[in-house]
C-alpha cells in the first residue's frame, strides 16, 4: 500500500540489463508536492532506477506504487511505459529526450497523445506549456534536432508537462545545457513544484539540486547509501567529502544554499 | 531403402561441411552471412572451369577453394563492420549477384543450362571424369574389403564423410581455441574486445574466410556428386537451409551439425518416401511444397520456442542476436 501522503513509493527495486544486475533493492519515496533528488556516482544506477519505475526496464524484484491523477493508488510494477502518462506520471530521459527528426510542434503533439488527439483540451494545454516555455514557442516549426541543448531540455520538459502530470521524473535536466540555462531550468522545476507537482530528479549538479530539494537519496552500486533532507545532506561531512567536493567550505555552501532555496 | 539412406548421407555430408562454415561465421563470430551459398557456387564453378581448361582435378580443387576464400574476403572487407541486418541484406545481395552473373556470363559458366555447356552449347563438357575414376577406385577397394560389389554412392560417402569429420574436428578445435574464444567475445561485446587491443576486424575477416573455405569444400563435393550443375542450384534458400541446420543444433554446437544435416537431408530426400497418410493425400509434386511448408513452420517454432536448438541447452547456443 502507498501511504496517503506519497506520490511515489518504490520498494526493493532490483533491475538490470541481460545478465548484469544494476539495482539490488532500492527504496525511494516521494511525498506529494515535494522535490526529491537522487544523486550518486556515474554508473550507480540512477538512470536505471528511473527507467525501471517507468517500465522501460523490467522489475526483477520490488514494487512501484504511484498515486494516480484521481488520488487512487496504482501499482505500476508491471505497467507498460505508454500507459503511465495518462495516469499522471511523466518522464524526461537523460539523453535523446526529444524526437530530433520531428518538428517542435510534432514533439508536443506526441506528448499530447494521452489527452486523446488534437482537440480543445490539447490546444488549451499547448497554450499553457508554451506560456511556461517561451523559448520553445518561438520555434514550433523547427526540427527539434536544430535546437540548442538547453532548448531541447525545455522542449522535453514541455512535452512531459503537456499532460498536466502529478509526478514528474527528470533525469539530469542540466546535462549538456549551457550554464545560464541551468538556472532557468532549475527555477522552472521549483515553479512547478510550488504548483503542487511532485518531482523526482536525478542530478549531478548536486549542490544546486540539493539546495532546492526537500529530500535526497544517494545511490551507490545500485543500493541506497545515504538519505536525508536536502539541508542535512548539504551539511553532512561524509556527503561533502564524497560527492560535493572537499575543497569547498561548508560555509560557502550554506550561503549558496540560502541564496537559492525557496522551500522550507 | 538403402538407396534412400545413401542419398541422405551424401547430401548430409555436403550440408555438414557447408553448415560448419556458417556455424563459424554466424554461430561463433555473430556474422549472419546469408550469401554463403555463393562461395559454394564459386568454388564449384572455379573447379569445373579449371578442369575443362586442362587443369588436373587435384590442382583444380584448391583453385576452387582459393576462389571461394578470395571472394569471401572481397565481400567481407567492406561488410563485416555493418550492423547485423545490413550485413544480412548485403550478403544475400552479393550471393544473388554471383548467381545472376553465373546465369548471364554464358561463355564462362554455360549459363542457365549449367556446366554441360561450359565449352559452349553442343559440346558436353565434363569436369568430373577424373573424380569418377578416383571414386571407382575407392569403390573397388571397398568392394574387395566387404567381398561384394557396393553401390558407387558408398564410395562417395566413404570419401566425403572422413573429410567432413576431419573438418568437424578442426572446427571443434578452432572454436575451443583462444581464437574461437576471442571471436565469441567479439560476438558478445565488440567494443570490450577492441579495448583489449585485439584487432576485431581481422578476427572477423578470418572467421568469414574460414566459412567461405568450408563452403568451398562443400561446393567441390556438390560438383563431384552431380555431373552437371547450374546457377539455380545455388539459390538463397540453400543458405537458409544451412541456417536451419545450425539453429537446429544450437548455434555454437559443432557436433550437432551433422545430426541436424542428416535430419534435414532426410526430410528433403524423403518426399518420395513420405507416402503414408495423411501425406499420401498429396500428389508427390505437392509433397515437395508441403515439406517446405513444414520446414518453414519448424523453423518458426524452433526460433520462437527453442532458440537454443533441439540439442543445445546452454544459454550461449540461444539465438538472441
Amino acid at each position: 500500500m502507498i501511504a496517503p501522503d506519497l506520490a511515489l513509493h518504490a520498494t526493493g527495486i532490483a533491475a538490470g540489463y541481460g545478465d548484469a544486475r544494476i539495482l539490488h533493492g532500492v527504496d525511494i519515496k516521494v511525498i506529494q508536492g515535494t522535490i526529491v533528488t537522487i544523486m550518486g556516482p556515474n554508473g550507480s544506477g540512477k538512470s536505471t532506477l528511473l527507467k525501471t519505475i517507468v517500465g522501460l526496464v523490467r522489475h526483477l524484484a520490488g514494487t512501484t506504487l504511484i498515486r494516480g491523477r484521481d488520488g487512487q493508488p496504482v501499482d505500476i510494477t508491471r505497467s507498460k511505459p505508454y500507459g503511465l502518462a495518462a495516469l499522471g506520471l511523466s518522464y524526461v530521459p537523460q539523453t535523446a529526450n526529444v524526437f530530433a527528426d520531428m518538428s517542435v510542434l510534432e514533439n508536443l503533439q506526441l506528448g499530447g497523445l494521452p489527452l486523446g488527439g488534437g482537440g480543445a483540451l490539447f490546444q488549451q494545454r499547448l497554450a499553457t506549456v508554451l506560456e511556461l516555455f517561451p523559448v520553445v514557442s518561438g520555434r514550433l516549426a523547427s526540427r527539434a534536432g536544430t535546437l540548442s541543448g538547453g532548448q531541447r531540455q525545455m522542449l522535453a520538459m514541455a512535452r512531459a508537462l503537456i499532460t498536466d502530470p502529478v509526478l514528474l521524473l527528470l533525469d539530469e535536466p542540466s546535462a549538456g545545457v549551457q550554464p545560464d540555462f541551468v538556472d532557468q531550468i532549475f527555477s522552472k522545476i521549483r515553479e512547478f513544484s510550488q504548483l503542487g507537482l511532485s518531482v523526482l530528479i536525478v542530478e549531478q549538479k548536486a549542490r544546486q539540486s540539493l539546495a532546492f530539494s526537500d529530500y535526497a537519496y544517494v545511490l551507490e552500486m545500485g543500493r541506497n547509501r545515504f538519505e536525508g533532507t536536502g539541508r542535512e545532506l548539504l551539511h553532512d561531512p561524509a556527503i561533502i567529502d564524497l560527492y560535493l567536493g572537499a575543497g569547498r567550505k561548508p560555509a560557502a555552501t550554506r550561503t549558496e544554499a540560502q541564496d537559492v532555496r525557496i522551500l522550507p | 531403402m538403402l538407396e534412400f539412406w545413401l542419398f541422405v548421407l551424401a547430401t548430409a555430408g555436403i550440408y555438414t561441411i557447408f553448415s560448419l562454415g556458417l556455424l563459424v561465421q554466424f554461430g561463433i563470430a555473430g556474422l549472419p552471412n546469408f550469401g554463403n551459398g555463393a562461395f559454394m557456387a564459386i568454388s564449384a564453378y572455379a573447379m569445373a572451369i579449371s578442369v575443362v581448361n586442362g587443369l588436373p582435378m587435384w590442382a583444380a580443387a584448391p583453385v576452387g577453394i582459393g576462389a571461394a576464400v578470395l571472394f569471401g574476403l572481397l565481400l567481407a572487407i567492406p561488410t563485416v563492420r555493418l550492423r547485423s541486418d545490413y550485413l544480412a541484406v548485403a550478403t544475400i545481395a552479393a550471393g544473388e549477384i554471383v548467381r545472376y552473373l553465373a546465369l548471364n556470363l554464358q561463355e564462362l559458366t554455360g549459363g542457365a543450362a549449367g556446366t554441360v555447356n561450359l565449352l559452349g552449347p553442343g559440346i558436353a563438357a565434363d569436369y568430373n571424369s577424373s573424380w569418377l575414376r578416383f571414386q571407382s577406385g575407392v569403390r573397388g577397394l571397398i568392394s574387395n574389403l566387404v567381398g561384394q560389389r557396393v553401390p558407387s554412392d558408398v564410395a562417395f560417402i566413404a570419401i566425403l564423410w572422413p573429410v567432413a569429420l576431419l573438418l568437424l574436428a578442426a572446427v571443434w578445435y578452432m572454436v575451443r581455441s583462444p581464437w574461437g574464444r576471442t571471436l565469441r567475445a567479439i560476438r558478445e561485446d565488440e567494443t570490450a574486445v577492441a579495448a583489449l587491443g585485439k584487432d576485431v576486424f581481422a578476427y572477423k575477416l578470418q572467421a568469414f574466410s574460414v566459412g567461405a573455405a568450408l563452403a568451398g569444400v562443400a561446393g567441390l563435393f556438390f560438383a563431384w556428386q552431380v555431373s552437371s550443375f547450374s546457377p539455380d542450384d545455388f539459390r538463397p534458400t540453400l543458405t537458409f537451409y544451412a541456417f536451419v541446420i545450425v539453429i537446429l543444433g544450437g548455434k555454437t554446437n559443432v557436433w550437432a551439425v551433422p545430426v541436424g544435416a542428416v535430419l534435414f537431408a532426410g526430410i528433403f530426400a524423403g518426399t518420395r518416401f513420405l507416402d503414408f497418410w495423411p501425406l499420401s493425400v498429396f500428389a508427390s509434386g505437392d509433397r515437395a511444397y508441403l515439406r517446405l511448408v513444414l520446414v518453414g513452420l519448424g523453423l518458426i517454432v524452433l526460433v520462437i520456442w527453442r532458440p537454443q536448438g533441439i540439442f543445445g541447452n546452454r544459454r550461449e547456443d540461444a539465438l538472441e542476436t
Binding site: 505508454y82 526529444v98 527528426d101 | 544475400i92 517446405l292
Partner: protein, 295 residues
Amino acid sequence: MLDQLLQLVFNGLVTGSIFAIGAIGASLVWGVLRIGNFAHGDYMALGAFTTFTANVLLGLPLVVSALLGVAATSLFAVLAHQLVLKPMRGRGLTSVFIVTVGLAFVIRNTLFLVFGSGARRFDIDQAEVYVVGPIRMSPGQAITIVCALIAIGLVGWLLSSTNIGRSMRAVAENSDLAAVTGVDTDGLATITWLITGALAGLAGICLGLVQGTFDASFGAYTLFLIFTAVVLGGIGSAYGALGGGLALGLVMEVSTWDGFAGGLDPRYKLILAFIALILMLLVRPEGLFGKARIV
C-alpha cells in the same frame, strides 16, 4: 531515340512505383518494429493470388478483387504479427530475420500447393495498348500508375498529418522515448502491419498486372529489389522508400537506353540494382536522402 527514352522513363516510373509501394511498408516495419521481413515479397504474392482467386476463379471484377486481395494481405500481416512476430519481441535482428525466412517458406509453398506452379494471370486484356503521345502503356501499367498515386498520397497524408503517422515516425526514431511519451507501441505495431500488409498486397497486384503472368515465387524474386529501395531511402524512412523505389525503377529501365553507349544489356539490370544496394550499405547506410546516423 528520345521517344525510347521517354518510354523507358515511363516504364521506370511504373516499376519504380511498385517498388515504392512495396518498400514503404517494408521500411516502416523495419524502422518502427525493427523487423527486416524476408517474407515481404511473399506478402506481395499473397496479395496477387488472393486477387487472382476472386478475379479469375470467382469471376469478380478486377477492382473488387484487388480490394479483397489488399484486405486479405493486410489481415494476414496482422495475424502473422500476432502469432509469429510479436512473440519475438526483444530478440535480436538476426533471429527475427530467420523467423521471417520461415514465414516466407510457409507462405510461398502454401501458394504453390494451392495454386500449382503454372503461370497465372488476371482477367484483363493484355494485348490492349493505350497510346499517350510518344508513350505506349498497357492497361496494367495504367492501373498501377493510378493506384500508386492514390496509395502514395494516402500514406503521405497519414504520415505527415495524423497521430498514427506521427507515432510511427516517433517510434522509428526512438521507440523508448515514444513509449514513455504515451505512444501505445503495441497498438501501433498492429496498425503498422495493417498498413504494410495492405501496401504489400497492392504492390503484388500491380506487379502481377504489369508483368502479365506470375507464379507463387514472383514476390520473393522482387524482395531484394524492394530491400534495395528501402536501403536507398534509408531504413525506417517512408518518404525515403518512396524516393528510393522510384529512383531504382528509373535507373534500372533508363540504363538500357541506347543513348548510353548502346545501353546496358537488360540481363544486367538486376545486377546493377544489387551492386547499388551493396554500395549504399557501405557508403551511405542512412540512405540517399537521410542524414548521417550511426550504423
